[in-house]
Subunit: 363 residues, 2 copies
């Protein structure tokens, strides 16, 4: 076969099950937002001149970059837009990491980084997180001489653990390679958790964002990143010439501009997260980080994570089970609507009650 | 800086000028289709449930691949869909060509291939086309031992020259590396010019298609390719996990399904091409290949290509001028609407007449 040597044994990225859009299914397995995107999107498409699709899109998504520039108060030259964060991550590897070089990743983290590194023939050095899944910057720094890059997903997935701005600064002050900070879930964390402002001080920092989570727009592929002008210009040079659809650019801009709706949805998700956390604790689950639109939890009530997962699939409720080191006894649950979480909780409640009943003495 | 060594001196791909969508401009510089895409697209988007955008798209564009399978009578396992052909070309280089290996390209051809090869750190060996720009397969074969791949754009851009199926077969019978056959413009050539059916016989052939040209849909980024199951499975493994928007998948499918409209537009473009060719010849231009939705032509009437280009820009008419070897004395004109071509021709006519007048004796 014709494929390159280093790809022969590679398995592609494995995403959560994607059942067909269907009102009977409760889908809490891909950290999608339970609320629809802004209605401004539908309105603006009504006025869209479809004839325009016969022309190429703006190659650099000019208007969208300007919109992002205003919202985040960052210069346009420090902004790049990609066909999802996925494209940006691929481009970062393609543009900045030589083949057979090494990057550092905490374990566990978003598995796509390992997949993309392998595709790009870049080695990965995993640094185990602490028992509570917090990331130890000293451990990373003690290994960092071997690496030209460090990836931190913050809040981390699938743990929901947040590293403070201070700790990221500490890393940036010591490590002179590239630091990729993936803030896909940062909007769900407390205010002032983002390291976006640090791009002005650190020319080796790339901060990634996406419309997939907090903007309910994973159906369009739109990620963006912030970095020094030099880094952005390399990304522009190596990206596909027209990487984002005209309609996608338009939808993204409308989605971003509706700040009021964005904030309302964030608050709803955060409130549901608090409620879910409380209920899970009451049901005998240990819950990890509270900073994203999902919760990682471990049943400590005698139930097995995999059994709970399988049972819920039978009820048409999809959560995420990772059959891998340190995660196989845990479950990741995306924050759904209040009603979806009610249904989930009633099933979990039933399982826990049945389990307790099975320990009652027989008369 | 952090960029990889081989990228330091790379210049990115240079596309034609993309003036803002505007009725005062005649845009004949990017081989866009002069007719709008199928109106079925607008209709289907009216029924689209925008809430669906909160979910990830189909990772493999399942429904779209099935639609392509039916239209082209090719098995789904032999089809891949990308975020424009651009993404597919990038993935082919990423997946099949080792760094520092070499591929063969005719000269001139679509310059994006050279750019992507450089980005991917793959060497390019250019084989000069004959004086009339036809591609000499024997010359390619005599160099092919040094190469693991051959790229043929067919009809070639910017020449419009078509290689016959027989000649491509001859290449495939001799050359055992990967053959990338880019049929972006094939719909504008005569029937039975495509090599699509050859994928069943040759496991080293990739045939690329796009919705950008004959389907008037370059505003959405959608390319597809046909190849052996093994090649497709590698592309699936190394692509971004969700590479195409939900809406893009839907628009592409509707665009493809409207066969009647597709055929009507093709005929209109072909008729205008014949007319433009005749008129250009009458005006003292030599015209090259007649197989795509553009014509490459060389003024042999005393006018300079660059002067014509500059004059037309001042009239808000954009055609393409390539300041490179063997092309700097020529112009590439995309086929516009009948009316656009009328306006273009009246300006060319004026230039030619003025030129002739300047040679009249003074009384």
């Amino acid at each position: 076969m014709f494929e390159r040597k280093h790809l022969k044994n590679l398995k592609g990225y494995v995403s959560g099950i994607q059942p067909t859009f269907n009102n009977d299914i409760i889908k809490l397995n891909s950290n999608e937002n339970p609320y629809p995107p802004s209605s401004r999107i539908m309105d603006c498409l009504k006025d869209f001149n479809f004839e325009q699709l016969r022309f190429y899109p703006s190659a650099k998504s000019d208007s969208l970059r300007e919109c992002i520039s205003k919202i985040y108060d960052v210069e346009v030259e420090n902004i790049f837009c990609g066909n999802g964060s996925d494209e940006i991550i691929s481009l970062v590897f393609k543009g900045f990491f030589e083949e057979n070089s090494s990057i550092i990743l905490p374990y566990p983290t978003y598995t796509l980084y390992e997949t993309i590194a392998k595709i790009q023939n870049v080695n990965t050095i995993f640094i185990n997180t602490d028992e509570d899944f917090s990331i130890d910057i000293d451990k990373i720094l003690s290994t960092s001489k071997k690496a030209t890059g460090v990836v931190i997903v913050n809040p981390n997935a699938p743990t929901g653990i947040l590293l403070s701005v201070e700790k990221i600064k500490f890393l940036l002050n010591q490590f002179k390679g590239l630091v990729i900070l993936d803030e896909a879930y940062i909007d769900f964390a407390d205010e002032n958790s983002s390291c976006l402002n640090l791009i002005k001080m650190y020319p080796n920092l790339i901060v990634l964002r996406t419309l997939s989570k907090s903007y309910s727009l994973c159906g369009i592929r739109l990620g963006y990143c912030f970095a020094s002008k030099d880094i952005i210009s390399v990304l522009d040079k190596i990206k596909d010439s027209y990487n984002i659809d005209t309609i996608t650019q338009l939808i993204a801009e409308e989605g971003l501009k509706d700040r009021a709706y964005f904030n309302i949805n964030l608050e709803k998700v955060k409130r549901t997260r608090i409620r879910l956390e409380n209920e899970l604790v009451n049901l005998g689950f240990k819950v990890y980080g509270l900073n994203a639109n999902f919760l990682l939890c471990k049943p400590e009530n005698g139930l097995e994570a995999k059994d709970i997962y399988d049972y819920l699939v039978d009820q048409n409720i999809f959560i995420r089970y990772f059959n891998q080191k340190r995660l196989a006894d845990k479950l990741r649950i995306s924050i759904g609507t209040g009603k979806e979480i009610d249904i989930l909780l009633s099933h979990l409640n039933k399982l826990v009650t049945e389990r307790e009943m099975s320990f009652e003495p027989n008369f």
